[in-house]
Symmetry: C2
Subunit: 348 residues, 2 copies
């Protein structure tokens, strides 16, 4: 068999190496960890024995001894979402620089699996957890207040739980939404619709709030019919746009809560023979990879995703180092990415 089976029978241990090199296990350990503490001669002997035995240190044992794993779990709720990868990449950069490994957990929004990952950390299989999920894995069944639980090192990114005081790195979603709206105002639009995200997530709520505030600031009355439900998916964008287009007095611009639903909206608009941005302008949110590849290319709000990942990981490493996290949320700036899907309000 080209590989060993999982029984561990044939695995060399430090004792084997020690015997082979004619030294104690302590010396083998030292050679591996702090070679400078060992004489050149023994070092060579040990290294030779290590190679000969095909020895790999068992980190389970090492970690048990040191009570740390040097790995961090990043949990997302939908790995399919093209928004996350860049955040993960940022987190990995920082982690790698400090000798940490990043493991990713996918929950599919399933509380059972969220809980499983939390337990992985509580049971010391990882040192900490970065949550991109916007909620705390609910403990047990009884309703003890979450704050009173013994939580392992935890950092939120993007999403956040207000009033819990957990360290968080994110953008100002409401302000970003206002930025999108101001762009549309400048193009002359006044009748602007919003395709919302799932309203059980705080980022959706914040974006909707920003939309409303922008209208108010501009002296325009928010009109309930112009807010369409959505859930961040392509299909929900298609459906929401169809509903908005069926309105007696339809909007001249749509601000979608994320790019995926914006792309769905564009699809729906075009399939009705209308033009984007000729008849209706569309602006998205997130600046995912494919936003540049749609037709027309999508105007959107860009988040500094790598930076979010880097900062979240940096805070995590500080936490593990005994330093205290920043007071209050770390808010990172966004940018308006103007492409082709927004244009002047049609004359009509």
């Amino acid at each position: 068999m080209p590989f060993e089976s999982g029984d561990g029978a044939g695995t060399a241990t430090m004792k084997d190496v020690a015997r082979l090199a004619g030294v104690s296990t302590a010396t083998v350990s030292r050679t591996l960890i702090k070679p400078e503490l060992v004489s050149t001669r023994t070092r060579e002997r040990v290294m030779k024995a290590v190679a000969e035995a095909g020895y790999t240190p068992n980190s389970l044992a090492r970690n048990l001894r040191k009570m740390q794993t040097r790995s961090i779990i990043v949990v997302v709720q939908d790995i399919t979402n093209p928004f996350y990868p860049e955040i993960l990449r940022g987190a990995e950069q920082t982690a790698q620089a400090f000798g940490y490994t990043v493991l990713m957990g996918n929950t599919d929004n399933d509380p059972v699996r969220e809980r499983a990952y939390l337990e992985l950390v509580q049971s010391r299989r990882a040192d900490g957890m970065i949550l991109l999920t916007g909620r705390l894995p609910a403990q047990g069944t009884d309703s003890v207040a979450v704050e009173r639980e013994r939580l392992p090192p935890l950092v939120f990114a993007c999403e956040h739980l207000p009033d819990l005081g957990l360290p968080t790195v994110r953008i100002d979603n409401a302000e970003a939404a206002r930025m999108a709206m101001r762009h549309l105002f400048e193009l002359g639009h006044e009748r602007i619709a919003h395709i919302a995200g799932p309203l059980n997530r705080i980022i959706s709520v914040d974006r909707l709030a920003g939309y409303r505030e922008a209208l108010t600031e501009r002296g325009l009355p928010p009109e309930p019919a112009l807010v369409a439900d959505g859930d961040f998916t392509f299909n929900s964008g298609v459906e929401a746009a169809s509903r908005l287009l069926a309105l007696a007095h339809r909007p001249t611009a749509i601000f979608a809560a994320n790019d995926e639903s914006a792309i769905g909206a564009i699809q729906a608009i075009k399939s009705q023979g209308l033009s984007v941005p000729g008849d209706i302008s569309v602006i998205g949110f997130d600046n995912i990879l494919f936003a540049a590849a749609t037709d027309p290319a999508l105007t959107t709000i860009g988040q500094p995703r790598q930076e979010i990942g880097r900062r979240a990981m940096a805070i995590m490493l500080d936490l593990l180092d005994g330093k205290s996290p920043p007071l209050g949320d770390v808010i990172l700036p966004v940018e308006l990415v103007i492409r082709r899907s927004t244009g002047p309000r049609p004359l009509a």
Copy 2:
């Protein structure tokens, strides 16, 4: 502080629970693992103590004892690629059903990081590894033949290393490419270009081979100028298509080695004022999520991605269970997904 710092000082151990319940640690252990071996009365006492102490078993210690972690690492080389998530999801389904946890590792095609994940397994932090990367993490620096290395349980998915005899789950890429070509032939196309993937990956080579074989079968001479280099990215699709369009006698159809580059190709074609499929048909490969959302929607080859993930994980669990893997690669069927980007050859 709302969470404990990493020093582990305040963490309850089994000894604490035992003291609290007035029993031995052995009894606590049994209560947690095999409650039926313990009297109801003691069980209750122990459970109460567990709750009171806020005890979570330390899996580091447990795993060391049992020499297994019940977690599997799935390694991808580019987490940004929308192709992987569904495979991972399939793997998770199977893993979860057997009480295993899936952790995901991203390598960004960096050998150092590939190696780091391998070491995670070799050092027993995970029981096995499923590779979606198409190469074996190179060991050390010396060039000992890979086959002679001590490899942990390993399964390949999608990619594979020929002649190494490692268990693999994949599709027949050459045959799938022929299927794409036959679709174009049926629409009357004869002058068909190919946008290749990175040729250091076997799947790209196989798809290119299938393209060539299909032409030959059809009695058409393969023309080197009709094969454009690419690397699976959107931009490489744009560039490759631009080069193909500049040809004196340009193709009437393009078969791209993956969807992302196909979408780039469509973009390039449209930006030159040509129509898809009016002037040029485009077919992709993989059927990623966004393939349905492009304009026109992309005709492509669909892989049974969840099933690939499920099968790979099933083989892994068999391996860990001491069973031997299937002889030869497991080949799963593909499907032709016909959408709007392919049509009859233009008359001209």
